[in-house]
């Protein structure tokens, strides 16, 4: 067989090609390669191959068996499932939207790989505002984490205020008792300069940096950093390039969630809001156990949009639901061992001309690192296409897409309301929050709806959202995007 061993590739077809497309592709190829026409020495051989390909693919039953075979024989470490909001895009003179749900999961073949060790740094804000219960809770939670480390894990701890101190350097672990004592020694005092802490933490993780490890930074802060944001973001880019992911954890109400989002999503991580101080412990526990369940790290999606198509939004639904910045290379984070990495893409499609039979939404590849076998750089091609049709499709989108979008629309309303407040459009923002509250009530999120209503009222009086309310609504609606809510588990 030729290097293009897949019948679809041989004929230049998509795996979901229609019978008509297969017939046409075969026809075109046969015309070019027929021994009577072509003089190329390899033509006959190729002609026989496309003949065989056509024989298999044109028979529905044989095609099915063949599809199954290439699926199980595929050497790809991940399987990619794609679902679209509709089966065809419509040929007409208006722009339209198409949604695609892309789900990545570990191939069955690789699902029994050992758990990679962790190389983690906790960067803890010890500014004056952390004094008291906040810092105490952080201390206890950190100590608990240390106790759970496996012998081959590495942990370092950095504290910062106006400057940073390495409380516990990475490297050989000393006695847990010594570590715990050091954690207890932490004292609050000073300002919040995130860059100081971040840089020190980055250096600690880098000392032990290996692609066989899960390299991670958890930043805990309760305040705003001033003037060093750009430095922080540049550092995040460096961290991402070295394969270090950053998780941001905001406590209280005075931290800058927009900044923390930007900082973390650049590395494939995300930010979280701790509204009740007691939740820190549980959050860190969950984060920690998810770091112990990683199949692939540094997953990134590189897409080139088709002509007349624009990727307009990207949402990660699971794990850690968040909106992701749209760029040519999107860092998606990690693929968990026994769950899917699900993202939802929104494509803006300009009017399509009649002669396009199949519209390319985007082409590209997914690249990732497998910690259990990092020498193997994995790049998996991905192609998102849709057939075109004359009549507008009236079908309902598949359930998972419908569900995801219904929650995303809530998150978007919240984002819009915030933007309107920032622009001084108080009336609009208030109305929008009320509508959001109606939708939240409808899905049974009563507390969140209540918060939205309170904020809607507040805007009318103060022209501002409360720092607490806006974070609650943002992170509340964001967490609704998690498909796990609906009891969706991976089928394996």
């Amino acid at each position: 067989m030729s290097p293009k061993s897949n019948f679809y590739e041989l004929l230049g077809l998509q795996p979901d090609a229609t019978a008509e497309e297969i017939r046409r592709a075969y026809h075109d190829a046969a015309l070019k390669l027929h021994p009577d026409v072509s003089t190329s020495p390899k033509a006959t051989e190729l002609f026989l191959e496309i003949q065989e390909a056509y024989n298999v693919l044109s028979d529905q039953k044989e095609r099915k068996t063949y599809d199954k075979k290439i699926h199980t024989e595929s050497d790809s470490p991940i399987s990619i499932d794609m679902l679209y909001s509709r089966s065809t895009v419509t040929i007409f003179e208006e722009s339209q939207l198409v949604y695609a749900l892309v789900e990545l999961s570990a191939s069955k073949k690789y699902s029994t790989q050992p758990i990679p060790p962790i190389n983690i740094c906790l960067i803890i804000d010890r500014s004056t505002s952390m004094h008291g219960i906040r810092l105490d809770t952080v201390k206890t939670s950190a100590i608990e984490l240390v106790r759970q480390l496996k012998s081959n894990d590495t942990i370092s701890i950095v504290t910062f205020s106006d400057r940073a101190e390495v409380l516990l350097p990475a490297g050989r672990r000393s006695d847990n008792n010594v570590i715990e004592n050091q954690i207890r020694m932490m004292r609050a005092g000073g300002g919040t300069e995130i860059f100081q802490g971040l840089e020190a933490g980055f250096e600690e993780v880098r000392r032990n940096l290996r692609q066989t490890l899960i390299n991670h930074i958890i930043l805990l802060t309760d305040g705003r950093t001033y003037g060093d944001e750009d430095q922080c973001l540049a550092l995040a880019d460096r961290a991402a390039a070295s394969g270090i992911r950053i998780t941001g954890l905001g406590m209280g109400t005075d931290w800058n969630d927009v900044f923390l989002d930007e900082l973390t999503t650049r590395t494939g991580g995300s930010s979280f809001y701790i509204s009740k101080i007691n939740d820190i412990r549980q959050f860190l526990q969950e984060k920690f156990s998810s770091l112990n369940q990683i199949f692939a790290e540094r997953v990134s999606l590189d897409l080139r949009s088709g002509s007349g198509v624009q990727l307009s939004s990207v949402f990660r639904l699971q794990p850690d639901s968040t909106d992701l910045p749209v760029r040519s290379s999107i860092r998606l984070g990690s693929i968990p061992k026994n769950k899917k990495l699900s993202i939802l893409l929104e494509f803006y499609v300009s009017p399509i001309s009649k002669d396009i039979k199949r519209l390319t939404l985007a082409n590209g590849e997914i690249s990732l690192v497998l910690p259990f076998n990092p020498s193997r750089i994995s790049k998996v091609p991905i192609s998102l296409t849709r057939l075109t049709g004359e009549s507008p499709s009236t079908e309902l989108p598949p359930q998972p897409i419908f569900r995801a979008l219904s929650q995303i629309s809530l998150y978007r309303m919240q984002e819009k309301a915030r933007q309107e407040v920032a622009e001084g459009k108080v009336q609009e923002a208030g109305k929008r929050l009320q509508r959001l509250a109606t939708q939240l009530l409808a899905i049974g999120a009563h507390d969140l709806a209540q918060t939205a209503l309170v904020e809607a009222e507040r805007i009318q009086q103060t022209h501002l959202l409360s720092a607490e309310g806006e974070k609650r609504i943002k992170y509340g609606t964001r967490s609704l995007m998690l498909p796990a809510r609906a009891g969706e588990e991976i089928e394996q």
Partner: protein
Amino acid sequence: MILCPNCLHKELVGAIFCNECGAQLVFSEGVPTGAIRSPSKGLSDNRSPEKANDNAAPPPASILEAKVSLNIVNSGEILPLKSQKEITLGRVSGGQTVIPDIDLTPYKAYEGGVSRMHASIRISNNEVSITDLGSANGTRINGRKITSHISYPIKHGDILTLGKFKIQVLLRKN
């Protein structure tokens, strides 16, 4: 462009939810045509005469006059709606202060999970819409659950499900 039925905001074709108000924009298309009796045919011949003998069923004349009628799917009875602007549907039971305009109790509404104040139908000149009034078991249009307190347009032949209680909407064209 598609128009949001709730806030009239314009959205691109292919959008599933309104960006302005979060209302659902895509609904399943009507029920299979075979299941629908066109009002003129269904009312004038085979069906209504025998049903008209029942005391519960209103006289055919009023059915023909009414712009909107409801076909109770279980019993086959047809209730014409008076041409008022808004009509509430529900059931009457003891100790109730607010009484719905149309009481569905005679049609086994309780067993069907209909709330006392379940939904309201609004009739305007060119549109008929339904709003769920925060009922316990919800309302569906052609099997799609609707969000309460938001009005959704309905058209001829649509099946409304209040709880498990099925009603088909019959609109008279003029």
